[in-house]
């Protein structure tokens, strides 16, 4: 496991390393501030950062990009309720300070699995949107074929499927091509 601890104080990195004792292989690196080149080179599995670090904004801006990392944040005891509320709302993995080494491992595990889940959901959502878009395109192409070729719905679909197989392309792509060419023939965008 590769863990990056961003904190002006080195003590927290030592505590994290202690809590992860026995994990193999393990590399815990401490950095006072976020330095992009170093983070990219290290490629951490999880980042631990003090909630009062200004570098949070940089990490936050990466959360939807491929450069994002699972992030665990520590807050002071002087911020009553914040950690509990944040975890309940699911916005971020805030952890109250005074962390016992024994709690480090489960907290990092939860952060990493939650991050993986979020990434997967985001991917699923993008795929679902693309699928829906493709289905709409197929419906419109079917309608066009029914009108222009006098086919029934089933016949139109079979023709599209045949075109797709002949060209070795997904049916959505063939439908999109068909609509685009029909547009050209009608003079759209010319």
């Amino acid at each position: 496991m590769r863990v990056l601890v961003i904190d002006p104080d080195a003590a927290r990195a030592a505590l994290v390393a202690q809590g992860l004792e026995g994990v193999q292989p393990l590399e815990v690196r401490h950095a006072a501030v976020y330095v992009e080149a170093e983070v990219v080179a290290f490629a951490p599995d999880v980042v631990v950062i003090a909630a009062e670090s200004p570098d949070r904004d940089t990490l936050d801006s990466l959360k939807e990009s491929s450069q994002g990392h699972p992030v665990v944040m520590f807050v002071d005891r002087s911020e009553p309720g914040l950690a509990e509320q944040a975890v309940r709302a699911g916005v971020a993995a805030y952890v109250v300070d005074g962390l016992a080494p024994g709690r480090v491992r489960p907290i990092l595990d939860v952060a990493m699995s939650r991050f993986a889940l979020t990434q997967q959901l985001r991917g699923d959502l993008a795929k679902a949107k693309a699928d829906l878009e493709a289905r709409k395109t197929v419906e419109r192409a079917k309608g066009l074929l029914m009108k222009e070729r006098g086919l029934d719905e089933d016949g139109a679909y079979r023709l599209l499927r045949k075109l797709a197989m002949d060209r070795g392309k997904p049916i959505g792509a063939v439908a999109a091509d068909l609509l685009a060419f029909a547009g050209v023939l009608r003079g759209d965008g010319a």
Binding site: V33, E36, A51, E52, S53, P54, D55, R56, D57, T58, L59, D60, S61, L62, E64, E79, G81, L82, Q85, A86, A89, V91, A92, Y94, K129
Partner: protein, 384 residues
């Protein structure tokens, strides 16, 4: 007193936190009957989380953040007051300024510097196989991000394809430029002035040139606080308005600079703080404090343009939920005649014609059409 504060507000160490700092230190909160705890926060993400979750009642906030949080359903934040106009600017490193000057000696002269010469520098770097230039902003949902993106794109530089855009916290901007990690940035006061004073960079365009009387920070309040304690909210707005008027007055600038320069507030060189205060930032006069719906609609148009929100949202409904000029007006009118300029509110509240530096007209009733008419924008539905 029970020992608890009536109101918990956060701020980020920037010159435009002045109305909150002054309201606290000069006793305006106390005069309006409020005990306010002001906490200095280290990042905008923390400000967002704390206000969304109720750990703070409100904060000095990036105007687009209130819109983004509410739109995403992460929280419900209202903007009943604008904290300032102007103060941010685009600054580039000396090396990049030199490269622009070498490409066109007149490019950095004149009152308005555009990114057209920069586009040539970008193309030349690409032809030589050099890595793209790196520009930094303070947060994705910020006027700084939209200002920089608009300015770059207007000159023909695609902010996502032609340069690399990163997020860096304001106090680290200057050191990152000095270290050569960023070639340019858009950040609020005092950091542009600090970069110039330390000989690290050169400011190319200020917010007041980019869009005279354009938006910047707001007082972002948790909607649940505003609903539960309308009288305290009104008292808070009155105190901040009086503080903003105080901060505008030239005779108070020396005191204000001295206050903000202290480490517990902004913690920067007094000269750098003074520069934007005297030449740029407006807190209260000419209706600067009014949270204008037109501003919100323009910000949403840029969120759509850059793929941060889906193009099928209802900009008007979102902005009307967040921007609350009605609350500002009620508080301002009840200050009359204690705060003389409140009287001119009705004049100032006339619908504003948004005139950016490129003269492209913005019709607030058609933000979607405006967003989709730009040549450089993200295709619908694909985030930047």
């Amino acid at each position: 007193m029970s020992g608890f504060s009536d109101l918990r507000l956060g701020f980020i160490p920037l010159t435009d936190c002045a109305p909150l700092a002054v309201a606290k230190v000069m006793g305006f909160f106390a005069e309006e009957g409020l005990e306010v705890a002001l906490s200095r926060e280290a990042s905008w993400a923390t400000v967002r989380d704390k206000v969304s979750l109720g750990a703070l009642d409100g904060a000095h906030m990036l105007a687009p953040m209130a819109l983004a949080v509410t739109e995403a359903g992460e929280g419900e934040i209202i903007a009943p007051l604008a904290l300032n106009q102007n103060g941010s600017a685009v600054t580039v490193s000396n090396a990049l300024a030199d490269a622009m000057r070498a490409a066109d000696p007149a490019s950095l002269e004149g009152p308005l510097v555009t990114a057209e010469t920069l586009a040539g520098v970008v193309a030349a770097r690409r032809a030589r196989g050099e890595p793209p230039l790196t520009f930094a902003v303070v947060f994705p949902a910020s006027m700084h991000n939209y200002l920089l993106r608009y300015w770059l794109a207007q000159g023909g530089v695609d902010p996502d394809q032609d340069v690399r855009l990163v997020v860096i916290p304001p106090p680290r901007m200057v050191e990152q430029m000095r270290a050569g990690a960023v070639d340019g940035f858009c950040v609020g006061a005092p950091w542009n002035a600090v970069a110039e004073a330390e000989g690290v960079g050169r400011t190319l365009i200020t917010a007041s040139r980019f869009w005279p009387s354009g938006p910047d920070k707001v007082l972002g309040m948790a909607a649940r606080f505003a609903d539960a304690r309308p009288d305290d909210l009104k008292a808070c707005l009155q105190a901040v308005m009086r503080a903003a008027a105080w901060a505008d007055a030239p005779e108070n600038h020396e005191t204000l600079v001295e206050l903000l320069a202290r480490p517990e507030w902004v913690g920067a060189a007094p000269d750098a703080i003074a520069r934007a205060l005297t030449a740029e930032i407006v807190f209260h006069r000419q209706g600067a404090g009014l949270p204008r719906v037109e501003h919100g609609l323009w910000l949403v148009s840029q969120m759509i343009r850059w793929g941060q929100v889906a193009p099928d949202i209802d900009p008007e409904a979102l902005v009307r939920r967040v921007y609350r000029p009605d609350l500002y007006r009620a508080a301002a009118l009840s200050l009359d005649p204690r705060l003389e300029s409140a009287r001119s509110l009705d004049e100032a509240a006339q619908p504003l014609e948004a005139r950016l530096f490129d003269r492209r007209p913005f019709d607030p009733s058609a933000p979607l059409a405006y967003a989709s008419a730009f040549e450089i924008r993200r295709p619908q539905g694909s985030p930047a």
